[in-house]
Amino acid sequence: MDTGIGILSASYYLPPTRKAVADIFRDEEIPQEKLAADVDFQRDIGIEAVHVAGKESAASLALEASRRALQQAALDPKEIDLIFDFTSIPEEYPAPTWSAAGLLQKELGATRALATAVNTGGCASYHTTLKVACAMMAATDRYQTALLFAGDKVPEFNHTYYPITVICDGGSAVILQKGHEKRRILSVEVATAGKIHDVWYIPGFHNRERGDTKGKWLHMTADVPKFNKEVIPINLFMFRKVMRDALARIGRKQHEVSYYVYPTFSTWDQKAFCNAFMIPPEKIFTEGLQRHGHLQETDMVLDYVDALEEGHIKEGDLVMLTTNGAGFSWGAALIQH
């Protein structure tokens, strides 16, 4: 399988203000529930600071990233046929009634586009969206160019996603074009395990508790015992499945993968992944962890862009982008450089 679709450009935007992780741990309530992995969450996280949006909105982060991607591609917004918002946490107004897709369509002047949002997958929403976008582009000649974007802004005191990571605010954007010969998307695989749909969730306004003066209804909530019991045992198995299936679709083997882009959750998580799949440090981008922490689904774009710009990915390389999402989903995509 070769979708015949390539990545025309990819970009991101991080708000300029930074907050040290030590200050985040000071300001936020950190749960004390024990982790299955033998780690000290605060000591071993491996993130120094994250970017915080402050007064910038989630959509404005996405808009800036999208403008950068368009500029890089030298593309007129009026040429965009499809716009997909793949943001995985709440935006300005409640979903699924609303998404930022229409707002960005307006702000960019992408007048002929169809603008929608993919609202599943957690941090694997980029893969889910790639799969949908590639299918829609492959199915008709009407869709030649697609803009995929995300804008993530967490509530002020909800940067800690215990027991996984610390969250950075930011936006990302990718432009896909049919027939683009470089950075070709060869295959995309997504898997979901519905049983663990509620390991991570945000309660929502209608579930707010009496006396919630801190806006906890808008905070990411983790079921740590369920995470330990249900997610940890299958996580690497599911990674293996989606990566193997993505490779099998194009008749390639793991040893042919030149470079990996993997989420920036924590040092111990990266180590576990590399050990499980015997990936040497030079074949995976891990630098983003210390620089900015985790950006939900945008990790896949940001770390890909940085790996590319810093010379880790070369012409001819087969690149694997792989992630898990919200405990219940996994994605793998193969990009031929």
């Binding site: 709440p90 409640p94 979903a95 009634t97 609303w98 603008a115 609202n119 209608h206 808008l218």
Partner: protein, 307 residues
């Protein structure tokens, strides 16, 4: 309807003009429990085992049990149905047009991915308490609580999806939305579905949807007169009349409308109206069914099915 209007503090006389006499309303059910029942029914009618489903596509429009997109009902359904090999996708925005968005995406996936044969489209929508009657310049529609499900199968012998055309108007992204309850506003009064009446009126007066529908028909080599049946969202009697006029449809072409009995069910309108049509044996092989939504001024969408 009078009771509902009084409970929601709306003049009953203004609501009765919508042409909606009653709407289904939940008591203790959740949106996902409704969706589960609808999905099971659809799978049973299609004689498809849940384990055969390759992709579950959620087209819900109203807030779910937890906040979307961090959580999505489709994963819970995957588990409860036992759709073990499926993966999940959901779409946001576009009001009833979101069903046609899901239809378009699912059809494309089935057409282009040899590994995917069966898709389950599903939604569960329950109105925010006290918000069944949606206001713009006065009542615009009345929401019924509901769920819908559709099974798509590659190479199915009837009811083939011929084509879908969708276009959006970004400037109308906030004509129909919930102003509070996410990052932007936290006041309880803002947590209700709201329509900007004047902008919605202006959108209906435009030709965006008409052009989208015309593009679809032209691609398919059809005329509006050759359509056997048009399925419209059940927004209101007045909305129907405007859609008929805009699209050049004859009243007898709109032959399956649950407006009076069920009110506006978002994308599930297309499912219940289609089912009403098939249950009346109103379609014969080769008939073209035209599904059209104005997406509350944001998403202009049309789909063509061949029965």
């Amino acid at each position: 309807m009078e009771d509902l209007a009084q409970r929601e503090g709306v003049n009953p006389a203004t609501v009765l003009t919508l042409g909606i006499e009653e709407v289904p309303a939940c008591d203790t059910e959740t949106a996902s429990s409704l969706a589960l029942a609808a999905a099971r029914e659809a799978l049973q009618r299609a004689s498809v085992e849940a384990a055969q489903v390759d992709v579950i596509v959620d087209y819900s429009i109203l807030p779910q049990e937890y906040l979307v997109p961090a959580w999505n009902m489709s994963n819970k359904l995957q588990h409860e149905l036992g759709a073990t090999k499926a993966f999940t996708v959901g779409f946001s925005g576009g009001a009833s047009g979101n069903f046609l968005m899901a239809l378009s995406a699912a059809t494309a996936m089935l057409q282009t991915d040899g590994k995917l044969k069966t898709a389950l489209l599903v939604a569960g929508d329950i109105a925010i308490p006290g918000n069944h009657i949606v206001q713009g310049n006065g009542p615009v529609t009345v929401l019924g609580d509901s769920a819908g499900a559709v099974v798509l199968r590659r190479d199915a012998e009837r009811a083939a999806v011929v084509d879908v055309e969708i276009a959006t108007r970004g400037e109308n992204h906030d004509v129909c939305y919930i102003p509070g309850g996410a990052l932007e506003r936290h006041e309880p009064a803002m947590y209700r579905l709201t329509i900007d009446g004047p902008r919605y009126e202006a959108a209906l007066a435009g030709d965006h949807l008409k052009k989208a529908a015309a593009r679809l028909l032209e691609r398919s080599g059809l005329t509006i007169e050759s359509i056997s049946c048009a399925i419209l969202p059940n927004v209101s009697r007045a909305h129907h009349a405007r859609m008929l006029e805009m699209l050049g449809l004859a009243r007898e072409q709109v032959c399956a409308c649950k407006l009076r009995d069920q009110g506006y069910l978002q994308g599930t309108d297309f499912v219940v109206n289609y089912l009403a049509l098939t249950e009346r044996n109103a379609l014969k092989p080769g008939d073209h069914v035209f599904m059209v939504s104005d997406g509350m001024g944001y998403m202009s969408a049309a789909a063509l099915l061949r029965y």
